[in-house]
Symmetry: C2
Subunit: 219 residues, 2 copies
């Protein structure tokens, strides 16, 4: 098939932007390599050629799938964020135990899931910084943030069996949880891994357990 | 005095780096204008000429005080961070009320103090991003972060009257508080000001009051 085949020669004429299929293994590998490069060196200092080199691919092949670096940046942002959302979904799907244990058990998994991936925070910082000059990137970052807040809020509501009247409280708690994860990831990014961030997170989970207890007492 | 006078001509030869005196009003005005420009456009896109223009000064005058943009960036970082620390100090010096009220009263002021200043988070994000390629900037950011953690930990310890055995718990709580402030500031930076961040912070303060209550019950 002409359209689906990759370019064989460097002389490939400018490729039109293509709808990106994340299930295509080559596309996924380019996005994943790009995320790593961007997190390590930033958007400006990273070239399409370098991203190709990570995979042993010519620049023209990267260019075949992504018409421009800007297009690749937006796609990497969505791709990485959806991986993040998937990890959040997996983490909050923890079962068993009482409400307190279930809530904080899910949040323990969330920490482990995000913590094991250094590319996350590097890429996030780069997105926040580039958002200043790229309104589309900022709009997307805001949307993705709202989505993950909703996801965590739904997870909490499910565990606590909350009714609709509590929706705003769930949203606020969810915003708090995501802020703690972001804030502690930044602290670790700057200071290197040490015990402080982990202890701060444990303190947070202890406070959340007190909060759940208090809500149950009142309800 | 020859050394203290500013250059009068564009042809001023390359100025040697000078010890920077924050009490010098001109130095303070340059640092403050630079912080605004950096927060708005980022380090790379901002020129010394633009910073001078903000103040109606020629580039040569900015250059007289700061030998290079790199020197100015490091100085702005320290300057902005010490202003931040001063605001933290002022905020946690709130008096009156019982322990719970004092703790969260101080943290209410802290939110207001940091919240009123949009330059803070813009500059922080730029520092985090540039830290990737500037190890000195990262080292300084890590040191300044440790200092503010210590400051908040001391403030909590004073309010709670904690003994030395609790030092690690205070440090963890302090790291958590600063992470919440950073994380929520990032959320507001991306999504614009809305009620969610404020409500998330109120939820956090409610949890902290439960925590203080629990500690008092046990002690």
């Amino acid at each position: 098939m002409e359209i689906a085949s990759e370019p064989n020669a460097e002389s490939q004429p400018e490729a039109a932007p293509r709808a990106v299929d994340w299930d295509n293994p080559r596309v996924a590998s380019i996005l994943s390599a790009a995320a790593k490069c961007f997190a390590r060196k930033g958007f400006t200092a990273t070239t399409l050629a370098e991203i190709g080199k990570e995979l042993g691919l010519r620049k023209s092949i990267v260019h075949y799938y992504f018409a421009s670096k800007a297009a690749l940046i937006h796609e990497v942002q969505s791709f990485a964020y959806h991986q993040y959302l998937d990890r959040v979904k997996d983490a909050i799907r923890v079962v068993g135990g009482d409400k307190k244990v279930r809530t904080t058990g899910a949040l323990e998994s969330l920490w482990d899931a995000l913590h094991s991936n250094k590319t996350n925070i590097g890429l996030s910082i780069e997105v926040w910084s580039a958002s200043r000059r790229d309104p589309e990137l900022k709009r997307r970052a805001a949307t993705l943030q709202k989505e993950s807040r909703k996801l965590v809020a739904d997870g909490i509501a499910e565990v606590l069996g909350s009714d609709a009247s509590n929706v705003r409280a769930m949203e606020a708690t969810s915003a708090l949880i995501l802020a703690v994860l972001n804030g502690l990831s930044v602290a670790e990014y700057l200071e290197g891994e040490d015990a402080t961030a982990k202890e701060a997170y444990q303190t947070f989970l202890w406070l959340l357990r007190l909060g759940v207890q208090e809500v149950e007492k009142r309800g």
